[in-house]
Assembly symmetry: C2
Homo-oligomer: 83 residues x 2
């Protein structure tokens, strides 16, 4: 078994309203910053052991499908690195 750290980034799908991002962008505008867009995402860093990178990716993808992301509104991305 090898120790891996998986990073799961969960983003809202294109077209899904993101009031938190809107509020943050407006606050930055008010502070005088000029930005064209701001998107927010949730990131999970998961330490786990698995026999291979492929198996680690499989497990973490299942975690994302079952709990971390809501397929109706979210897209997600999994990155695996050895710890």
């Amino acid at each position: 078994m090898t120790a891996y750290t998986a990073t799961v980034t969960v983003r809202l799908k294109h077209g899904v309203l993101d009031p938190e991002a809107k509020t943050t962008q407006r606050a930055l505008d008010r502070l005088g910053f000029e930005l064209s867009a701001l998107r927010s995402a949730d990131q999970y860093e998961i330490d786990l052991e698995a026999p291979s990178t492929g198996k680690a990716r499989e497990q973490v993808t299942e975690m994302a499908d079952r709990l971390l992301a809501n397929p109706t509104i979210h897209d997600y991305e999994v990155q695996i690195s050895e710890r």
Copy 2:
């Protein structure tokens, strides 16, 4: 001016309690997944224009210092890429 996308990842400092991560980890445990640790982070993707990568990084670092991160409890990391 060049168009950049900056990614700001805001993490809780080591030792700061993270009840959201604890709850998520416990839920994954209950679903039968085996993981050694789970940390959560907030990520902001910011589209902006700047004369150089250095200037873009400077602006985004200031946004993080002034609004996106709370230096008492957060560490953050800025990545800049051309759009």
